[in-house]
């Protein structure tokens, strides 16, 4: 047994790639070793900014010898075929064995594969690993052709056994493997000779390199907490930043600095974002004031002045950065509180494209405002307030702060809207209308926020559906699945009851206008009454009917314009626009498609809550399925009912009734749907079922009118006893045709009563 140590020493590896690279190194090398027959006891990989390292312990000294049996041609095969087989196996004819098989005498070869020494295998595996390493991005350097994340400088590759360490000789693009590495770039740059992993890690530590990323992170976290604590402060936790910073240093030294008083008035999120994004600083909060008052930076070295110069430099850089942020903040506040206020920013969004077929951000905002206005009464918001909130919600995209820090969008809008004296509801909507951003993100609950959040998402869905940019497979560049889930969660979690399709209809009318407006032809030539013509067409059912007529007329006019040198557009855009117009589906198709997309997302959403697919399908099959809140209520009630013994068994009874009925209807060519009369009942069970159905109907019908699914379904489940008793005691197909017809009509009552709550035929099992 021996131990293997590998180190790949390079110029600085991007922090975000290090952990993954260490894993890949371990996986690729150990897989290669095992595949070649070298098993091992344990392995571990490490990374620092300048090195990847791998230790493999308890590895075989050589791969075991194996005998491989190969089946050849028939013994009487043509000479050529046998010769070929011999060549492949590296044997002579007398070394082959003939075996009788059901197919006749067949030649077999036994090839002895001797074991190979570990060093040979390691060298091969390492070379293959280096040449095929899955870096997210790799590069060449100098005159070589080898690719690595940054120039690779040296390779340690040693096997350590009982007799000591031995270099595994290998060479890749002029880099010879060896047993030497280097310490910290500035603190201990000298050559280090290593004999095994323990020696390697210990010597690196002496040369100011902490090999383990988690140890570096721990040092940073502890030292940062201690420094902050000593001044009565606390570090704002940030696991992502911690991992990144641990990948930027080999010898972490934590320093705490001050934020100049000038900047303490900035919103804490601005301070935090600026420090993190630009400088990789941790924020330090004063629990007494609740403000961010200091920062933690992590240097890669110790210095004679104990970091004083480094800290002074960092403070200076931070001041310059924050001066910028403060400048943006003050400028933005000036705009927000000016006479025209945030409208100035919305105006500027007239020049910012949202999507080249869906128009500008300003158009988007106007569409959102109209939609939010429509939605307002349904979600309990005031129409005017919802519309104003929608108009303000994205204004901050023009602000200087959001231009600099896009991740602060929404939040800045909230600050600026408050500063502009708008209502708290409007300010909150600026921030909350983006929500929910993920499955675990909170959904907005304030009515104005809800209206704007829904408007934003429904406009997005309708728009991208209208121009046929739906998500396919793993591709969803416009995050439409997230938007759909957002709509679902906002509706369902707020228990909002309204028709999704009706809202899509309203949205579509606005979208079509934007799509048409993006087509340059309209802007330049204003065919006929322009927008109005299209608005009319779009509202009556999409642009399908324009195919032959207006579209070609537009294109012809444009063509003429180009011939006369009016248009200055290049390339094939005429064709593209034609396609754009023709791609527009009719509003009915889009409503149906979108609804089914939402239903698919809903299935995923409900499945996570333990509601089965078939239950959802049974509910989707019912009328009013574009009211998602009702749909979910129905599905939940059905799911609960089916969990009860009665519910589960009733389904069986229902299916039995339905099967008998369907068969009889097919055989007789009539539909049994009406006229069951208790006077033809022959047994008590039959009469009991009549009574039970009457009772159930008396409860279910009003309950369904009130959309009280729980009551309706519980009444339905109560049918289980009478239905079961009926089937136990009664033969439906009686010889008496009157009795038979009456019983079939009775079954039909079971079917229709049960079917009024959900399409139970879709329930499986």
């Amino acid at each position: 047994m021996s131990d293997l140590l590998i180190e790949l020493f390079s110029e600085e590896i991007p922090a975000r790639m290090q952990a993954r690279a260490a894993q890949d190194l371990q996986k690729l090398v150990t897989n290669g070793l095992v595949e070649a027959g070298l098993t091992y006891a344990s392995a571990a990989a490490f990374s620092t900014p300048r090195r990847l390292a791998l230790t493999v312990e308890g590895m075989l000294d050589a791969s075991p010898a194996v005998v491989e049996e190969r089946k050849g041609p028939k013994a009487d095969a043509p000479e050529k075929a046998i010769e070929g087989f011999l060549r492949g196996a590296g044997l002579t004819r007398d070394q082959l064995e003939e075996r009788d098989t059901p197919k006749g005498k067949i030649l077999f070869a036994k090839i002895n594969k001797p074991g190979r020494p570990a060093a040979e295998i390691v060298a091969e595996v390492l070379e293959t690993t280096i040449r095929n390493f899955p870096w997210p991005k790799s590069m060449r350097w100098g005159s070589g052709s080898l690719k690595w994340v940054r120039p690779l400088h040296s390779i340690v590759c040693i096997l350590t056994g009982e007799d000591g360490a031995e270099i595994v000789p290998m060479e890749i693009d002029g880099i010879q493997s060896g047993d030497i590495t280097y310490g910290h770039r500035f603190l201990a740059p000298d050559v280090i000779k290593v004999t095994g992993f323990e020696d390697y890690e210990a010597k690196l530590a002496r040369a100011k390199v902490v090999l383990r990323a988690d140890a570096r992170a721990e040092t940073i976290l502890n030292d940062a907490n201690n420094l902050a604590f000593a001044s009565g402060m606390e570090v704002v936790e940030d696991a992502g930043l911690l991992a990144e910073v641990a990948g930027l240093v080999e010898w972490p030294v934590v320093l705490m600095g001050n934020i100049a008083d000038d900047f303490l008035g900035l919103p804490p999120e601005v301070l935090q974002t600026s420090m993190k994004e630009h400088q990789k600083f941790f924020s330090v909060r004063n629990p007494k004031t609740g403000r961010i008052e200091r920062f933690i930076t992590v240097a890669n070295r110790t210095t004679a002045d104990e970091g004083a110069t480094i800290l002074a430099g960092n403070e200076k850089v931070l001041s310059a950065r924050l001066a910028d942020a403060k400048f943006f903040w003050e400028n933005d506040l000036r705009v927000a509180t000016s006479k025209d206020g945030m409208a100035t920013w919305v105006k500027a969004l007239e020049n910012v494209t949202f999507h080249n077929k869906l128009g500008t951000q300003a158009e988007l905002i106007e569409r959102m405002a109209v939609l939010a206005g429509e939605l307002a009464p349904m979600v309990g918001a005031k129409k005017e307030e919802a519309m104003e909130a929608a108009r303000v919600a994205k204004a901050d995209l023009s602000s200087e702060m959001v231009y600099e820090f896009p991740e602060l969008q929404g939040l800045m809008g909230r600050y600026y809207a408050s500063a502009a004296g708008m209502s708290d509801a409007i300010a909150a909507a600026a921030q909350e209308h983006y929500a929910p951003l993920g499955p675990s993100d909170d959904v907005p609950t304030a009515p104005v926020s809800v209206a704007v959040a829904l408007a934003e998402k429904i406009d997005k869905l309708t728009g991208f559906w209208a121009i046929d940019e739906k998500p396919t497979g793993s591709k969803d560049p416009f995050a439409l699945r997230r938007a759909a889930l957002g709509v679902i969660r906002i509706l369902v979690e707020n228990e909002l009851v309204f028709s999704f399709s009706a809202v899509v209809h309203t949205s579509y009318a606005k979208i079509i206008n934007s799509v048409v407006n993006t087509i340059a032809v309209f802007k330049e030539h204003k065919i006929g009454s322009g927008d109005t013509a299209y608005e009319t067409y779009s509202l009556v059912g999409g642009l399908d009917e324009l195919d032959g007529g207006l579209v070609d007329e537009i294109l012809f006019t444009e063509f003429k314009g180009r011939q006369e040198g009016v248009g200055h557009h290049e390339g094939t855009w005429v064709g593209d626009d034609k396609a754009t117009l023709r791609q527009l589906d009719s509003v009915e198709k889009i409503k149906a498609d979108l609804l089914s997309f939402l239903h698919d997302r809903l299935k995923v959403y409900l499945k996570d809550q333990g509601i089965r697919h078939d239950i959802i399908d049974a509910c989707i099959a019912m009328e009013g399925n574009d009211d998602l809140t009702l749909l979910v209520k129905r599905a939940r009630a059905l799911s609960e009912t089916l969990k009860t013994d009665d519910g589960e068994n009733l389904i069986q009874g229902f299916k039995r009734a339905n099967n008998i009925l369907t068969q009889a209807e097919e055989a007789d060519g009539v539909e049994y749907s009406y006229g069951a009369d208790v006077k033809f009942a022959e047994t008590d069970e039959e009469r009991a079922l009549f009574k039970a159905l009457d009772d159930a109907e008396a409860v279910i019908t009003p309950a369904m009118e009130k959309q009280d699914f729980t009551t309706a379904m519980s009444a339905m489940a109560d049918l289980r006893g009478p239905v079961d008793a009926f089937f136990d005691a009664v033969q439906v197909n009686s010889d008496n045709p009157t009795v038979r017809r009456n019983r079939l009509n009775l079954l039909s009552r079971i079917r229709s009563i049960c079917s009024s709550v959900a399409d139970l035929t879709l329930i499986t099992g």
Binding site: P14, M139, G142, T303, T309, K316
Partner: protein, 312 residues
Amino acid sequence: MSQTPTKPRSFQSIILALQNYWAAQGCAMLQPYDMEVGAGTFHPATTLRSLGTQPWAAAYVQPSRRPTDGRYGENPNRLQHYYQYQVLIKPSPPNLQELYLGSLAAIGIEMELHDIRFVEDDWESPTLGAWGLGWEVWCDGMEVSQFTYFQQVGGQDCHPVSGELTYGLERLAMYVLGVDHVMDMPFNDPDALIPLTYRDVFKQTEEEYARWNFDTANTEVLLRQFEEAEAHCKMILEQPHLDPKTGKRIIMVHPAYDQCIKASHIFNLLDARGVISVTERQAYIGRVRSLSKLCADAFVQTDAGGWSEDAA
């Protein structure tokens, strides 16, 4: 590298220290390119010379213009005209990082007191059709240089690979000299007979250009000039390689590339004037990129680009 650097006292002494240092490393000390460019990379000594197989080592100061960054000389760090120091070595030597660190020492940064870091920053120039991998170099949290291994320029793979170092001179000098506002920085020695600050030299021009860039430049003229430069560049490269007058093979890459640079700068001006929409922006960048690709394709057909009669 042997003499102990004296603490620099002015902007120009830092430039001179860099010049001396890189001259001592064997780089050819070139002069700025005589056209308006957005960055030192546009100098043909970088763009074109990074192509082909011929070795190369050059360093130079390049005045650079970014019209949108103009702040009338009032912002402590932003200028529409500033200086870059550029080093290009092909093939990139194995000790380029050490050479670079040596240059920091040479301009008076006490290496044992500062925290120097190489932080991932991939470089891409959509207008040049170029990209490379490397870092921004941090000194105590401040970006002082850009360090890039060129992988592609003008759409061509770089073989061998050039190592490119770019120093933002004003920012670096402000840091070394401890100046907070660029206009306060001593341009020559403060004890000189006539001491000049950056303000004395550039405040007025920053104001003049900011006004011109943002409000006055005639966009119709610029749009026309862009089209002309584009057409000109293509026309030059469409000429037959054989010059009918001299009978020599002369491909006019540099004249064509001048037109490409011109188009690029005009685009920047149009951008500053705010007349280019987001969508058009991409189209303009694409047009400049196709020019730089044409130039790159042509350059590798020339002697300096490693072309040889036998290979052809």
